[in-house]
């Protein structure tokens, strides 16, 4: 024999189960869509953050003026005002001029196994913008030894492109540091210094020397023009405000960082559209739930009135009604949140094989939206019950 339900459940039976099932399905789709759009947004943001400096809190990028057909002959250096303005651009935390040597620097390396001669691009940046300042990072006029910081990119090109083609040995960082280079500075009338690689940097693709060396050389042989590049410490280079600023002013920088910016813009549009659609679905399901609650109360009106006469207070009756209508709603949105979490776990494991690191559990904005949905529906149903039992 089938057991009867609890008496109060018999008295207040939810009405319109078919409509309820449809409304729950729509709600599930709406909440899932909304949560997935939040997930897409947070994941793109996380990936763009991870893409810079191994997750450091800020990135260093070099910006310069775009060289076009029209600007080729123009002065493409930064004025003091432009430099100051750039330091106040969105996301920029610090920065300094990359001052190029305005005099020739010609390097020769002598040895049995290694012998080459080449012109070198030399520049300086403020010391505070150098990742690891080597010991004895100092130069003054008359000093024979010149410490230099080599771009990691230079060594990579040498090892993987230049050395194999020229039949030269590949070099480790430590062996490069042991090599002495003779620098012919300032042309035929110039001087000779002995340079040694004191460190490597990923921040600029040039050979860095102490600021005092470039200042000395430029004052002696240079034209005293402004810097053509700027090294910027940027909190989030994928930020749309920063990339818009660069675009508006005709500045160019590392394209990899800006790709994330474009991706984030696209993701922003997609998530906005899907979020809007999700909110519409939630609004439709909210209306259906309101009608469903009012129908349930209307059908149980006589029983509810008699319960009141027996001593059930309005507050108790409202709580009873809410207990009837709220659990399926909370169950559905929790189900949607768990589905979204499953999607995130799947995405994290798939992307991990491509070297892209995503958190396995959705981040706090996801749970905030989930909590917001639950609260909103609770308030909506509570109001609906209160209105129906008033």
């Amino acid at each position: 024999m089938k057991a009867r339900k609890e008496p109060l459940s018999i008295l207040i039976q939810p009405q319109g189960r078919g409509r309820m099932a449809i409304a729950l399905s729509v709600l599930f789709a709406g909440v899932l869509l909304l949560l997935l759009s939040v997930l897409a947004w947070t994941d793109i943001t996380q990936l763009s953050h991870n893409a810079r400096d191994n997750g450091a809190s800020s990135s260093y990028i070099v910006a310069g003026k775009a060289i076009t057909e029209r600007s080729m002959a123009a002065d493409n250096t930064f004025t003091t005002a432009e430099l100051s303005n750039l330091l106040h651009a969105p996301q920029v935390q610090d920065g300094g001029a990359v001052v190029a040597a305005q005099f020739p620097v010609y390097a020769t390396i002598g040895g049995n196994s290694l012998s080459l001669a080449t012109d070198l691009p030399v520049a300086s940046v403020p010391d505070r913008l150098i990742d690891n300042i080597p010991d004895r990072w100092h130069w003054e006029p008359g000093q024979r030894a010149l410490p230099v910081i080599m771009s990691s990119e230079f060594l990579r090109i040498y090892n993987y492109v230049f050395a194999p083609g020229q039949g030269l040995p590949q070099l480790s960082r430590e062996s490069v540091k042991a090599i002495a280079l003779t620098l012919h500075v300032g042309g035929p009338e110039g001087i000779k210094v002995t340079a040694y690689v004191a460190g490597f940097t990923d921040r600029v693709n040039t050979l860095l020397v102490p600021e005092s060396f470039v200042q000395w050389g430029n004052s002696r042989w240079g034209s005293n023009g402004g810097p053509s590049q700027v090294l910027l410490q940027v909190k989030d280079p994928s930020d749309a405000g920063f990339s818009d600023y660069l675009q508006e002013h005709g500045y160019v920088t590392d394209a990899r960082m800006l790709q994330w910016s474009r991706l984030r813009t696209i993701a922003g549009i997609v998530t906005s559209v899907t979020g809007l659609l999700a909110l519409m679905l939630m609004a439709i399901s909210g209306i259906v739930f309101t009608l469903y609650t009012e129908l349930t109360v209307a059908r149980a009106h006589a029983s509810i009135a008699l319960l009141g006469q027996l001593g059930y207070s309005n507050a108790t009756l409202r709580a009873m009604l809410l207990r009837r209508v709220l659990p399926p709603v909370l169950l559905v949105i929790t189900g949607a949140a768990l589905c979204g979490t499953g999607v995130q776990m799947l995405a994290a494991s798939r992307l991990a094989s491509d070297g892209l690191i995503l958190s396995i559990i959705p981040q706090w904005p996801y749970w905030l939206v989930y909590g917001g949905c639950a609260t909103l529906l609770y308030v909506l149903l509570r109001r609906s019950v209160a209105r129906a039992t008033a």
Partner: protein, 214 residues
């Protein structure tokens, strides 16, 4: 708990009360807990109206009805509910059972809110009133007499300081009425409660020690 009626006149009886000689309407009365009052009245005199006014169901009247300091017409829903759960129980003239529930479930609905007796006690009362075999029968299928006995037991399962009965034996034969009256009297005495019995005639007045004519 003290009951006070101060010049109460139901709106719809105003013209009748002005001309009549009621010992309740438009009078000042006080009743202490433990009193057993028989309200005798012919049809149409406002018996059920009085019961509903006392129970806080009807508020269209002048004057005041107070349970201690609580004005029955002005108390909010929470306070009235508290009175109905802890202080005042009732047997309605029209029984007011839930037809879709069994006899036992109808009693359970009240017990869930304010029950202070055991399953065995309730089962014993059902047997005592001759409806032990109707425990699982749907209320809609019970005779009026059976419904009336279920309604009486439902009123007795809660704690109360006052029990209000509106023609509680109208559908019972003499023997069942006697048994029901005995159970009511026992339960009222157990709780040291007051009793207000409104009825057409004085067949059951023996339950009471004071009579008021409406």
């Amino acid at each position: 708990m003290k009951l006070t009626l101060d010049h109460v006149i139901p709106d719809y009886l105003r013209h009748k009360v002005a001309a009549g000689t009621s010992s309740i309407w438009n009078q000042r009365l006080q009743a202490e807990q433990g009193m057993k009052i028989f309200i005798q009245a012919p049809s149409g005199a406002g018996k059920t109206t009085l019961v509903h006014i006392l129970y806080g169901l009807q508020r269209e009247y002048s004057g005041t009805v107070s349970w201690d300091d609580t004005d029955a017409a002005r108390a909010d829903n929470t306070r009235i509910s508290q009175l109905r759960v802890h202080d005042i129980s009732i047997v309605f003239q029209d029984m007011r059972l839930f037809p879709q529930l069994t006899a036992w479930e109808n009693i359970t609905v009240k017990r869930k809110l304010a029950g202070n007796v055991t399953d065995n006690t309730v089962t014993g009362w059902l047997e005592e009133l001759g409806i032990g075999d109707k425990k699982e029968a749907m209320a809609a299928t019970l005779s009026y007499g059976e419904q009336q006995r279920v309604a009486i037991i439902r009123a007795l399962v809660q704690p109360f300081n006052w029990l209000i009965l509106d023609e509680p034996f109208s559908h019972l034969d003499h023997e069942h009425a006697r048994k029901a009256a005995a159970l009511i009297d026992r339960r009222v005495n157990e709780q040291k409660a007051g009793l207000i019995l409104a009825d057409l005639n004085n067949d059951t007045w023996a339950l009471c020690n004071q009579t008021l004519i409406l």
